[in-house]
Amino acid sequence: MRRLRAWFLRFAGLFLRAPRERELADELESHLQLHIEDNLRRGMSPAQARREAIMKLGGVEQTKENYRERRGLPILETTFEDCRHALRLLRKNPGFTLVAALTLALGIGGNTAVFSVMNSVLLRNLPLPHPEQLMFLRLPNDQPPGASNTGDGDTSFSDPVFEQLRKEHAAFSDLMAYVPLAIGKVAVRVGEDPEEAEADMVSGNFFSGLGTAFARGRGFTLEDETAHAPLAVLSYSYWTGRFARNPAVLGQTIYVKGLPFTVIGVTAQGFYGVEPGASTDFWIPLQNRPELNAWGNPASLNTLYGTPTWWCLRLIGRLAPEVTAAEALRNLDPLFQRAALIGLGTPDPKNRKPVLELSPAKGIQGLRDQYEQPIEILMAMVGLVLVIACANVAMLLVARNSARQREFTMRVALGAGPGRLLRQLLAESLLLVTVGAGLGWMFAISASRALAAWSSLEVPFSLDSNVLLFTLAISFACAVVFGLAPLRSAVSVQAGSVVKSSNAAAQRTKRSSWAGKFVVAVQMALCLILLVGAGLLVRSLRNYETLPLGLRTDGLLVFGTSPLTTHSDDEKARFYHILLDRLRVVPGVESATLLENRLGSGWSNNNVFAIDGVVPTGDFADIGMRANDVGPDYLHTLGIPILEGRDILDSDSRTAPKVVVVNETFVKRFFSKSDPLGHSAGGVKPDSSFTIVGVAADSKYTGVDEKPRPMLYFPFWQRSFVSDMQVELHTTGNPESLISSVRAVLHDLDPNLPMQKPMTQRAQFDVSFSQPRLFARLSMFFGLLAVLLVATGLYGTLAYRVSRRTSEIGVRMALGAQRIAVLWMVLRESLLISVAGVAAGVPLAIAGAQLMRSMLFGVMPGDSRSFLEALLGVTLVALIASAIPARRAASVDPIVALRYE
């Protein structure tokens, strides 16, 4: 206790030094005076008395120094002094400080930003209590045969499965179900304005089971679920964005697809739903109304919530305490196997059995699989950039410190040990890294926002404690490296060599310049790897951008809309018919059509249809077909060439004979010998088959990178049920300028009708490769950064060498060396470094490119052009960076140089 008090006071002694110093001086002075008076009384002379008093005290300054050591904490004090000294040094060299700190900021900031993406996509847990207990239920081999499903085949479960599994509390203390109301967004009206929001229907225990906290109001109850109560819970961000955090929102009514729901709660900040790949705006209890069917799917008798064979629910469970995922799965599987068959009758034993799987709710489901490898590769790339940046700063420090040899020798001569020097160098590097990391953190904040925007991932990228720890760790590693790098030159100093001329130093730097050249060569190698990676990714992006789509995207505007108040298929078909008629007469619209799945959105219908009443047999990869329900004038509006027959027409109405248009690949696969026109495709029975009336050229459907697949275009009016449709307009001018007049048309039809995601068709296709685009841009950025850093590093090394060798060059020239020879001397050095770097870099780049294989599109990992360009780039960098020092060397005036000593 006493010791603690003493430590505290000593710590306090670090501050308010001036008054304490004065007091100490006063005390010692009074001591001396008392002593002198005594001595005088004993008969000494004044001079003798004073001398004796000081001697007895043991010297005023010595006493003060001993006293000070006891007063404060010497280690802390010297650390402070080191920091102050370092600060002074950094201020004295603003150029050096700026370059070093910015280099570090770019390195650390870039790493932090990429890591923050990796953190949110791959690592982060849900912001809920005990997130490690939360498990998604998955079906790796899809639903059992015979089930109807919506959503993704591997995530959707039936209602009986949910009801059976939620009763088994030994495995999960709570099992929650949820399902989106739409693909993307659903129509909502608050007050007068129709808009769209992302909404999920959830089971009554959704919030209580997850442990969601509430900012306002409450969550749902099991009674709300069974009563399908018209209640809604808003997310904090929706409440903020749409209601300006108005507390009066509780009790307000929002209209979802025109149906009233009362707001009863707002979740706590930071909760975006369980699938943060898309942030949910509000939640309602599970509904059984056809208008509010899962995913906005058209409802029929066997595709509505509550129907046993309708697999639409996503499930997330909270493991019971002390239960592992494996135990829970063992517990649940028999139940699941029984429940899975409810409503499906007796299964054919030959049929595959569905498999239940538990997957930890970590990172972002779906995105995790898709992004894991690319993000790790990006992380590696940005890590290389950091290594290059650190090497640069280390070299800068080494160069600067060898210019400080005299200072170090002086310190050693004055009695500083190696430990003391190390502490000071560490303080300097720590300070530098602190500045760099601070700047880097700020850079990372904006960079991670930009990344989130570019990646078109609706992910809350926040810089959380994981990211902070990461940044601190890499910064600390940097600081240690920088502290240690210059140490060798500092401690190798001998006290005796204080005033020796720079010749001695020049001898010594011979050795350390080898280290410098080695570091630059390594940087070159890393730079080559980055440039090869960037080249491959940029070439992939170019392929995405220039790949022929098989259709004309110029002037195409696409948007979605679905009737809110119509229920029957006939009504829905009539709605779209009226809509088309109205849109066709809008000035600027050349033609208009409809389609179920928007092109380039990734969605598609996949099936195997019968041809002339016979279902082809074979592997799905060979016989799988794609289909889309489309409107009249489809091929014309989208500019897809008609190879044979005709387009879908207005006359192919609901009551007209059923027709279908197929694509070239379909014909090649199934009609290699005969003419397809007049044959039929579709169902097995004659009344469900469609007559082939046209053949269209192949065109892209889900996205740019798909391979051609057999394709069928069905007139949507003739399908057994009518889906929610997208509208494509071919316009004569700028498509986006038409948005407001189209909106007016929609408003005329129904004030509640929102225009869903209007954009040009080109932009929609661009979205389909936003991930490769992001990676290409980032890798290009990293590549350029590496080039810049390597160039400055090489330039610095050479310039430093040249300035060190000025007198040597002067002697050479005085002895008759030609300028060209001197020029070559410097260039040769830089070329040798480059050759060594490239020689090491090429095999590494070849290996690295193999790792990137999955990210490449239309380019082989060993693409010679990418490699050549990278080589050329590195060589160019080397030449440019060495040009200035070489010229300076060649322009050395021998007379000046010899006087230089």
């Binding site: 003493a6 006071l9 009074s30 001591h31 002593h35 043991g58 006493t63 006293y67 006891r70 007063r71």
Partner: protein
């Protein structure tokens, strides 16, 4: 060799604090110079106190809360910093005195075994 009495001993490590405390107990509030003189005198001028070492020791005792200090005036009206025992200092002194007595008693027994037996 012959002038042994005049050869002064240094203060043993760690005993200076005890001497300071004891001095302050005996003399009441006292300034640094006074404490140093008093220690010398008490030891019969056998101990040579390097006055300079006294001040860090005083500071340590003050930091530990055994003594406190304030500025005052000496008999001949000179400004000086006066130290005095605190309650904790008094307790500490008692404790250390007891410990010291024990130690010396034990040592005494070791050093004079003959007398014990006789």
């Amino acid at each position: 060799m012959g002038d042994k009495a005049a050869e002064k001993r240094d203060v043993w490590q760690g005993t200076l604090a005890l001497m300071v405390l004891k001095t302050l107990q005996a003399m009441g509030p006292l300034h640094g110079y006074g404490i140093a003189r008093r220690i010398e005198q008490t030891s019969g001028d056998l101990l040579a106190v390097n006055y300079g070492t006294l001040y860090p020791a005083l500071l340590k005792l003050e930091q530990e809360g055994y003594i406190s200090s304030e500025w005052g005036f000496s008999d001949n009206n000179r400004k000086a910093k006066y130290y005095k025992l605190t309650r904790a200092g008094r307790k500490q002194l008692n404790k250390e005195e007891r410990e010291w007595e024990q130690t010396t008693a034990i040592l005494a027994r070791f050093l004079a075994p003959g007398e014990e037996r006789s």
